[in-house]
Symmetry: C2
Subunit: 65 residues, 2 copies
């Protein structure tokens, strides 16, 4: 792994951790079931998007491992 | 573009839009400059992560265009 990849990998890992943390919050809110419909839709959409982001980063990390 | 790619593309576009919207909120908060240090760090980290996510989705979309 060269210097460039190492830096890039660290950035991706940090981003993944941060997005996964936000995702966990969204899922917790989903489980709480206290949101009204429009907020619930927004939260559901956000959770789905964050999951896709976490997955794409995972895939990218595999490529530079 | 086949059916699978079309569905996948729509999902990615939706995710990108949702993450970009959250990113804009983070940047607005940054510009407001009203956060205290720990919250500021968290918000900065989140903005950086969201930007990476938006970029990765963009790259993926280019691959299936």
């Amino acid at each position: 792994m060269n210097q460039h990849d190492r830096l890039h990998r660290k950035e991706l890992l940090d981003a993944q951790e941060s997005l996964a943390s936000t995702l966990r919050k969204c899922l917790k809110i989903q489980q709480g079931g206290k949101l009204r419909s429009p907020q619930q839709t927004l939260n559901d959409r956000r959770a789905k998007s964050l999951q896709i982001a976490v997955d794409l980063i995972e895939e990218r990390l595999k490529g530079i491992r």
